[in-house]
Amino acid sequence: METRKMIMLAFAISILFVQEQILVFLPNIQFTVVLLIVYSSVFSKKEMFVIIFVYVFLDSMYYGGLNPFYFIPMLLAWSLIPIVHHGLLKRTRNEYVLAVFALMFGFVYGWMFIPFHMIQTSIMNPIPYLLSDLLFEVIMGTTGFLTVLWMYGPLVRLFSLVGDDHLYHARSIRNSEL
């Protein structure tokens, strides 16, 4: 991997981590979803997995000494963004489609923790966890929807200004309108 690309990835991860820490006092209100969708538009799938692994690793280290009951579901959940964006959504840049995806992701992210929480607490009924987390899923889904709707376009255009033709889609973004 080129040095320039590595530096870009490092910056991307730093922005992801720092914004989360700044907004930690607001439960589930963060720019992580929109940032990962933007990154997914400009980086390749392989680079996305590097970003997500390092971000989740840092986050889990910072909060809970790499607790596998948080580390694994977080890794799986965040990895869904590049998987769905590059796969099912065919790397779309349609803000409305991506906003709906971000809305649904807010719920899926919460559900991903349920089996792990069931193992951790030995309470094998998923319903209480599902119900108690629903409120926070609504917050995360709504935040994801609104941030993608309003910020995805400007942020992706900002990336295109970097002028690095090696970025996954930077060239195509510069040549097209969102």
């Binding site: 000494g65 596998p68 966890y129």
Partner: protein, 139 residues
């Protein structure tokens, strides 16, 4: 303009959902409650406390015990204020302390595991509340 309408619609829908769900998380009532503190191995304290109408379990515990709570980053703090949304998380009661990652306080109301947090539990007269340290393994 379309974006503004979509934003208003989704925000309105989310706000309705938020308040409906928040209301459902609260369980109401009022009298005398027996509080049992268990450190996971031994019973370390038992107390019969009175409460008034509208007191949550958190209000009752806050009056009687020295609490250690989790802040928004789940770090221990003695500043046990209500969180912005949802219920506060108790990490320590007097000398019994948990760390959230490998241990936490499980709440049992009349020996039944509570899925509501301390701020959302409203006990009834004669209830027995057991706060028991639950170990999860790992560090």
């Amino acid at each position: 303009m379309k974006k503004v309408f979509v934003t208003i619609f989704v925000l309105a829908l989310a706000l309705v959902g938020f308040f409906v769900l928040r209301d459902q998380r609260v369980d109401h009532d009022a009298g005398q409650v027996r509080i049992v503190i268990h450190d996971g191995e031994y019973l370390v304290g038992e107390n019969s406390l009175s409460f008034s109408e509208g007191d949550s379990l958190f209000d009752i515990l806050k009056r009687e015990y020295s609490l250690l709570c989790a802040n928004a980053a789940y770090q221990p703090t003695e500043d046990c204020n209500e969180l912005l949304f949802g219920s506060p998380v108790i990490l320590g009661i007097d000398e019994v302390v948990t760390n959230w990652t490998s241990s936490y306080f499980a709440i049992y109301i009349n020996d039944e595991y509570s899925t509501l947090g301390v701020g959302n539990v409203y006990v009834e007269d004669g209830d027995m509340v057991r706060l028991q340290v639950q170990y999860l393994g790992g560090e």
